[in-house]
């Protein structure tokens, strides 16, 4: 009734086949990153040869038709927008998570989290559209022209807030309940417990969320493209229009040829480099967090 070893060796053969199939698929998945990097380098190579890396930072201006390739104003635009949005989103995102865990009544907490999850899934183009038709006119009344660094910061802030809030929420959930109980047993108030026990314990998770938020802000394209005015200049105040590296690619890729196209790939490479640094830092934090809890 029960089979001989025949079937069993058959099984181990299909086992091996399955393993090789899985290896192949994994190789494809893992190979994509290599392909991305390879194509970025391949396409930006002409620019490095014809223009040279130094000129991206020393030319007078970004004027590809005149063969001027200064990237610094766009770099500043990206950095200021990211910095501004993170300064707003980090405290509010973390406070939101705290509210959800320790202040809101259960039903409200559930709905609040659902709202944030919904917002995490809203496409950036919708945020951009809303910014363009609602936020930009409001800012324009305050201080013309309207499309500006400030509009970009506000839209980005709304976009990365869900990321930070959800990561913070998850890391608060991992704080052992016994810590909280013992803090309460010592007679600490809720706020004191949060400040002295919760935040230090969940620190690594909070930083991870912030780093991921930075990575998302750096790479964001559509929303920024739609609300920032896209003037190539280093911003001197919040109401100046700016152009970011991402917006620059999206605007000019459609018609760029030759060295110009290649220069856009260089800015893509630069962008990817920055984002990867933050993602790797965030991952590193997560691993360290795991090590800490294992000890």
């Amino acid at each position: 009734m029960i089979s001989s070893s025949n079937t069993i060796s058959f099984h181990s053969q299909t086992d091996r086949l399955l393993l090789w199939g899985l290896r192949l698929l994994s190789l494809m998945a893992g190979g994509i990153l290599l392909l991305v990097v390879a194509f970025l380098i391949l396409e930006s190579w002409p620019a490095f040869q014809d223009i040279g890396p130094a000129r991206f930072f020393t030319d007078q201006d970004w004027y590809p038709t005149e063969r001027l390739y200064l990237l610094t104003p766009m770099l500043w635009g990206t950095l200021w927008a990211t910095l501004g949005s993170i300064v707003l989103a980090a405290p509010l995102g973390i406070l939101s998570a705290i509210f959800c865990h320790y202040y809101a009544p259960p039903l409200l907490a559930t709905w609040y989290r659902r709202l944030i999850e919904l917002l995490a899934g809203i496409p950036s183009v919708v945020y951009g559209f809303w910014g363009l038709v609602v936020l930009v006119p409001v800012i324009g009344q305050l201080h013309p022209p309207g499309p500006s660094l400030l509009a970009g910061i506000l839209v980005l802030f709304l976009m990365i807030l869900p990321t930070i809030m959800l990561v913070a929420h998850a890391s608060f959930a991992k704080v052992p309940l016994s810590y909280i109980h013992s803090a309460m047993a010592l007679g600490l108030g809720r706020w004191a417990m949060i400040r002295n026990v919760l935040l230090p314990t969940a620190r690594a998770g909070l930083f991870t969320g912030i780093l991921l938020g930075i990575a998302r802000a750096l790479g964001e394209t559509m929303a920024i493209l739609m609300v920032c005015g896209n003037v190539v200049q280093t911003p001197s105040n919040l109401f100046d229009p700016i152009r970011t590296l991402t917006a620059n690619i999206a605007l000019e890729m459609a018609y760029a040829l030759g060295d110009h196209r290649s220069a856009l790939f260089v800015s893509g490479l630069l962008l990817m480099g920055m984002v990867v640094v933050f993602v790797v830092m965030a991952e590193g934090l997560q691993y360290r967090k795991l090590d800490d809890t294992a000890r």
Binding site: M1, I2, S3, I8
Partner: protein, 289 residues
């Protein structure tokens, strides 16, 4: 601790009747099973990350007997069980050395067909581990895997196994309902049936009753007793009264600075009434462990 002189004494004795008599002094008063060695462990060492959890254990398990492994937590009882059907292969960084034979199969040899071995050695875990399928599919899956596809054969094997664990009358009308809807005790008996459906020789039970309520626990215990003579049963238990009720032989492990060693082995009566070792006496009377 002077365990080293006397504890692993089993295989130092010559094989066969005389030695056996010596470790089971009260055998004559309570005949339980034929004294034929079925599982033989020799200098078995199990290490995790290079740190031994169980060191140089040697003893024989007799065919058809119920042998209980007792001792405090972390003395390597479960590791020993998992070694018998090579589940230790699945544990990362676990190395096993020494000799282990089931009848004439060299369990630890790399050439041993592990799937075949595990078919003949059934195992039950502490928590009932039914698969998230119907009751029928839980029992069919191992049969199909080992080559039975005929529907009538499958049905009769399933009925036989369920009858054997006394579950048939309780579930015969709902074989196609999710197995996870059963109660804890029923789930554990289903797991037993799932192991029995492959008609194994050896059953490894890792604290099969500890996650159950007293009544279910009693039912499972009676089942195990009914296996005497049909299967060679190795059971890990923390419940000493239970070991005393059901076991023919008892193996007592103790953890010496984190390393498990065999302290004493003998018939249940011997271990519980006249243990040779002080440590055993202290443990069974509840003074240690």
């Amino acid at each position: 601790m002077d365990d080293r002189q006397s504890s692993p004494g089993i295989t130092q004795e010559p094989e066969g009747r005389p030695g056996f008599q010596q470790w089971l002094p009260y055998q004559s008063t309570q005949p339980c099973c034929e004294p034929v060695p079925h599982i033989q462990a020799e200098h078995l060492t199990i290490a995790y990350h290079g740190h031994p959890a169980l060191e140089k254990v040697s003893f024989n398990v007799n065919r058809g007997c119920i042998t209980a492994l007792v001792g405090p937590s972390g003395c390597g009882k479960t590791s020993f069980l998992m070694c018998v059907n090579r589940l230790t292969d699945l544990i990362p960084a676990c190395q096993v050395s020494g000799q282990l034979h089931i009848h004439d199969t060299n369990v630890l040899a790399p050439t041993t067909n592990v799937l075949h071995l595990r078919r003949t050695v059934g195992m039950i875990f502490q928590k009932p581990t039914v698969f998230p399928f119907t009751i029928r599919k839980n029992l069919e899956l191992p049969l199909r895997e080992h080559g039975t596809h005929d529907r009538t054969l499958l049905a009769s094997a399933i009925e036989a196994a369920l009858q054997q664990v006394g579950l048939w009358n309780e579930v015969k009308d709902r074989l196609d309902r999710p197995a996870q809807a059963l109660s804890g005790g029923q789930q554990q008996r289903l797991c037993l049936a799932r192991a029995l459906v492959l008609s194994p020789d050896v059953l490894l039970l890792d604290e099969p009753c500890s996650a159950l309520d007293p009544i279910s626990s009693g039912i499972v215990e009676d089942l195990i007793v009914s296996f005497r003579g049909r299967y060679t049963v190795l059971i890990v238990t923390h419940n000493l009264p239970q070991a005393r009720r059901i076991a023919d032989h008892v193996v007592f492990f103790w953890s010496f600075n984190g390393v498990g060693r065999l302290v004493e082995y003998g018939s249940a009566q011997h271990i519980f009434e006249s243990p040779r070792e002080e440590l055993t006496a202290a443990y069974i009377s509840g003074l240690r462990g």
